[in-house]
């Protein structure tokens, strides 16, 4: 249990600071672009595509955070009628199934990145396009990992090992 919480926390730190750097870059670069375009009728060729990639990275990293915090959009009302232990087991199962589905997506994304996108034309900054799309298999892998971690945590809680400490958190 300790190991699982520790891993979640470590991943959380990495995700958080990566998001901070990327989002601040997004804010400043896009503002610079507006100033240059409206004030000086000038634009760098690279800002527009770079901003698009950053948006993707920020969004999909955010999805990993949403998984960790269990804040994905879901229909939740049935869960409210379950007693605590049953709800814990249910959530564990749901997270496991979700992890399996997302793993398939991660594999598909990996395939897409390694085979699906052009190898020919050079992308932004002469970097291959797959470099920018690496966030797709990366984030889906991360999401699957978070689902597994949550599943383990719910299992641990439902089986009552440290139900006492967890009670306050979920309330």
């Amino acid at each position: 249990m300790k190991f699982i919480r520790g891993t979640t926390r470590f991943l959380g730190q990495v995700e958080r600071w990566t998001l901070v750097v990327l989002l601040l870059a997004l804010v400043f670069l896009s503002f610079l672009q507006v100033v240059l375009r409206n004030g000086f009728s000038f634009a760098f060729l690279w800002t527009e595509p770079l901003l698009r990639y950053i948006v993707m990275w920020v969004g999909f990293l955010g999805a990993a955070v949403a998984t960790r915090e269990e804040k994905h959009f879901a229909v939740e009302f049935l869960g409210r009628f379950f007693p605590a232990r049953a709800a814990g087991i249910l959530r564990c199962l749901i997270s496991l199934i979700a992890a399996a589905v997302v793993l398939i997506l991660a594999y598909a994304a990996l395939q897409f990145v390694t085979e699906g996108i052009d190898a020919g034309e050079p992308g932004l900054f002469h970097l291959p396009k797959r470099f920018f799309y690496a966030i797709l298999p990366g984030s889906f892998g991360l999401i699957a990992l978070h689902f597994l971690l949550r599943a383990a945590e719910h299992a641990g809680t439902a089986l009552g090992k440290d139900a006492g400490t967890e009670g306050g958190e979920t309330a």
């Binding site: 804010v27 955010g62 994905h72 229909v75 199934i97």
Partner: protein, 426 residues
């Protein structure tokens, strides 16, 4: 047959709380597989997300909204509007309406308004003699009131999905949005007569002090709303200016948020919402593409056509269906349902901009529709009142919103006259 079984299984999982993006993703992969495709196609469709022109507005506006919500700006806003209109009978209720509308527009109506502003306004309303039911109902309702105003996330999302100009939608929402505030304000004024409490006294210098305190935040609504309505900047540009400006003032001028302690937390909170939206959008792109390829909207239209000839009857049915869907989940509703109904509505000669405003008003009502409307739950937790109490308290407000919905549905010109000619219904 096996598809049917899989569909039922997915439905069960949905009801048991499986994240919607997983459900949609599975469905898309299954459907592609059944027509000989691969899971890779779902990912290929997902990358189309990067080509959406205004996508960048979503993280930027969400970030700005969360920064505002976490700073002291709700407090400054309430103080200012209270100083300005507090003396008018019912002014306090109108204060609440205006604050919440502005705030919801900026924070994307994800329940933040009730949490950030509700707690401030509830005791003020009560101490001014408004009944508990009225105060509860008002604050729960206003939690989604800004949905029709820029830069509401719901409008941007609708524009992206429906592929119509976000700027145009913002303009179309103006008249219905203001009308709604006026009607709710009138209701509040009538109620306040019954409270028989004298309007509060204005302290000397109150307005000046409040203006001074909010001086840096005041230009914001004018910049965004004025800028977009005036055509000076696009919605996307407004998003980036807003995010930059809000970050600067809250961190360096007001110093409400510290760069290394608070900003990372806000980044994480806001991007979590963006991420949740993105995965649903990404997965839905695959599903939508499948639906369009298989001509599902046309088939649906042909089927509905057997029962409904008339545009107006169709709109009634549409409103009913939308209310139920929106009550369950709002953003996902836009992403999944809009691509299906736009072609059908087009066949009935309904303008996509008009449809958008109808859709958003439905969202607004869906937020507070018993038994599952999101605002009811948030309000119940925030104000520590049982859910049944919330149902009763919101009832009169819901009646007003329904009346508005009927008006907007059957008088398209309310939305369209400012947009001007462009896509007249056939």
């Amino acid at each position: 047959m096996s598809l049917l079984v899989a569909g039922l299984l997915l439905l069960c999982l949905t009801l048991l709380g499986m994240p919607l993006f997983v459900i949609i993703g599975s469905l898309a992969m299954l459907l592609f597989a059944s027509s000989g495709g691969e899971a890779k196609f779902v990912i290929a469709e997902l990358t189309r997300l990067a080509e959406f022109p205004s996508l960048i507005a979503i993280p930027l506006f969400t970030f700005a909204g969360y920064l505002l919500a976490e700073s002291q700006s709700p407090r400054r806003l309430v103080t200012l509007v209270q100083a300005l209109v507090g003396r008018v009978p019912g002014g306090l209720a109108v204060t609440a309406l205006l604050c919440c509308a502005v705030f919801t527009a900026f924070t994307g109506a994800s329940g933040v308004t009730i949490v950030a502003l509700g707690g401030l306004l509830f005791p003020i309303l009560r101490s001014d003699g408004f009944s508990e039911n009225f105060s509860l109902g008002l604050l729960t309702t206003t939690g989604s009131l800004g949905l029709l105003f820029p830069p509401s996330l719901a409008i941007i999302l609708y524009g992206l999905i429906a592929q119509i100009s976000v700027d145009k939608l913002f303009i179309a929402g103006l008249v219905p949005g203001f009308l709604l505030i006026v009607v709710l304000g009138a209701y509040a004024t009538i109620v306040s007569r019954r409270t028989k409490k004298p309007a509060r006294e204005r302290r000397p210098g109150e307005i000046t002090a409040a203006l001074k305190a909010a001086a840096w935040e005041l230009p914001l609504p004018f910049l965004v709303i004025g800028g977009i309505y005036g055509g000076f900047i696009t919605a996307t540009e407004a998003a980036s200016v807003t995010a930059f400006y809000v970050l600067m003032i809250e961190v360096f001028i007001y110093r409400d948020l510290r760069l290394f302690r608070d900003v990372p937390r806000v980044v994480e909170k806001s991007m979590l919402l963006v991420g949740a939206i993105f995965v649903v959008m990404g997965m839905s792109l695959g599903l939508t593409n499948y639906f369009i390829d298989e001509q599902i909207p046309q088939q649906l239209f042909a089927w509905i056509r057997q029962f409904i000839e008339n545009r107006y009857t169709f709109l009634v049915l549409l409103n009913g269906v939308l209310l139920i869907i929106n009550m369950v989940e709002i953003f996902s509703a836009i992403i999944i349902v809009v691509p299906l109904i736009i072609p059908i509505a087009h066949q009935y000669g309904i303008d996509p901009v008009h449809l958008g405003i109808i859709f958003l008003l439905n969202l607004e009502i869906g937020y507070m529709l018993p038994p599952f409307g999101l605002n009811l739950f948030i309000g119940s937790v925030r104000f520590e009142r049982p859910l049944t109490r919330m149902y009763r308290a919101t009832l009169p407000f819901m009646a007003i919103l329904f009346a508005m919905l009927l008006l907007v549905t059957y008088v398209p010109d309310l939305c369209l006259w400012l947009v001007g000619p462009g896509t007249p219904p056939q």
